[in-house]
């Protein structure tokens, strides 16, 4: 194998035990879910309590563990290893119901006014709704605690960046709205003699805004906490992947995501070369050699592991274990 592995991945985990939020990022289909599952397996076998959860609306943990865990909360896969897939759709529905209930309770209405109801429904149809709902649930999961490690099975790059940028945009907006709300309160105080009943409501809105701000800050601070978060990029020895990864790494750096290193996936075993293999495979190997050199000069000692292309797809515990050994060495 050509790629020089400088610091083994297992050492990173040992050296930085405080990095408890583990994330794998990269383009779609490169093996983020596989690495998430294998890392969870490795840590669980080491005696750590691990939760691997998916923040992807098209989650695939169910497939990799061959267990239907969708929307079922944290499910024990092996001792110490729990997996969870968030059912965003159900979460949105429950949330809508919560809002309706709140309106019923506040105004003792029997029926939600039509324009309000249609707004509740239209809002839920927005594509951003599902993502926000997942975003929000992740905060719940992390605040609740109970695990030594949290492994995020992230969405493809674009989405992950969207999450992060969303957090800062939301935060800026909420600050402005809160400012406006506070200003409104000042006017309220001036006019206090003339209107005196509405005080309670006003406070409630301000509190809601502060709550929203706090939630958004929490979730983005988890993603950008240098002490507690380790973010790994997954890449393969292909030109486009290398270029995209570089670009993404720059963007992530802008959002202060603490990058711990890169892991190469799908590396063809180089000892195949002498074995009279077909032209097609020979070409692939030559191409791979070239790009491994490129990766070496580009990322240097930030490459933490080089994982071979497996003989079959990684699903089921036996293959996950094999993958974990390929990533972390024997354990």
């Amino acid at each position: 194998m050509k790629g020089v592995v400088h610091i083994p991945l297992a050492d990173i985990f040992e050296k930085f035990p405080d990095r408890r939020y583990i994330m794998f990022g990269g383009k779609g289909g490169l093996g983020k879910t596989t690495f998430s599952a294998a890392t969870a397996f490795y840590l669980a076998k080491k005696g750590k309590r691990v939760l691997v959860f998916s923040v992807d609306p098209q989650a695939s943990l169910t497939d990799i563990f061959k267990r239907d865990i969708f929307g079922k909360g944290p499910t024990e896969i092996i001792p110490n290893l729990y997996a969870q897939e968030i059912d965003a759709d159900r979460r949105v529905k429950e949330y809508q119901q919560e809002i309706r209930q709140k309106i019923f309770d506040m105004y003792k209405m029997e029926k939600i006014p039509e324009e309000i109801e249609s707004y509740i429904q239209a809002a839920a149809a927005e594509p951003a709704m599902e993502e926000s709902a997942i975003f929000d649930e992740v905060v719940d999961i992390v605040i609740k605690g109970g695990y030594d490690y949290y492994i995020y099975d992230l969405v493809p790059l674009g989405h992950a960046l969207y999450y992060l940028s969303m957090a800062s945009v939301y935060d800026a907006w909420i600050s402005k709205i809160t400012g406006l709300r506070e200003q409104m309160r000042e006017y309220d105080q001036v006019a206090a003699v003339m209107r005196r009943e509405k005080e309670l409501d006003e406070d409630a809105i301000l509190n809601e805004l502060l709550y929203i701000k706090d939630r958004i800050n929490k979730s983005s601070s988890i993603l950008t906490d240098k002490q507690k978060t380790a973010f790994f990029f997954v890449l393969t020895a292909e030109e486009m992947i290398i270029k995209d990864t570089l670009k993404a790494a720059e963007l992530f750096a802008k959002f202060d995501v603490p990058l711990s290193g890169y892991i190469m996936n799908r590396i063809l075993p180089s000892d195949l070369k002498g074995k009279g293999i077909p032209e097609y495979l020979k070409n692939r190997l030559t191409m791979q050699e070239h790009y491994l050199k490129v990766i070496d000069t580009t990322f240097g000692n930030q490459i933490l592991a080089s994982v071979p292309e497996m003989e079959r797809d990684v699903t089921g515990l036996a293959m996950i274990e094999k993958m974990a050994r390929a990533m972390f060495g024997e354990f």
Partner: protein
């Protein structure tokens, strides 16, 4: 105003204070209420904008605020959609 004054427990001193306030600051209080109402509409626009097709705050969070503005929604919509331009004069 007089009824409210009677309800107050502060007695005559309080009544005098509120009376003075009413004489001196009544207009500014009215102005404050008016500004406050405009701000209320601005606030709803920012948070519930997508009702009029102007999405500003992410819908997940605007839903959280929705229950608090339910009573104001219809007046707000009427006000926002009451467009004024020179062609109104021709109608």
């Amino acid at each position: 105003m007089t009824e409210e004054e009677k309800k107050k427990k502060g007695g005559i001193f309080q009544a005098v204070r509120e009376f003075v306030y009413g004489v001196a600051a009544h207009d500014s209080a009215r102005f404050a209420v008016k500004s406050r109402a405009s701000m209320e509409h601005l606030f709803i626009l920012i948070t519930m904008g997508d009702m009029l097709g102007v999405p500003i705050l992410p819908p997940y969070y605007s839903l959280r605020l929705l229950p608090y503005v339910v009573p104001q929604i219809s007046t707000w919509k009427r006000r926002m959609l009451r467009e004024k331009d020179f062609t109104d004069g021709l109608a």
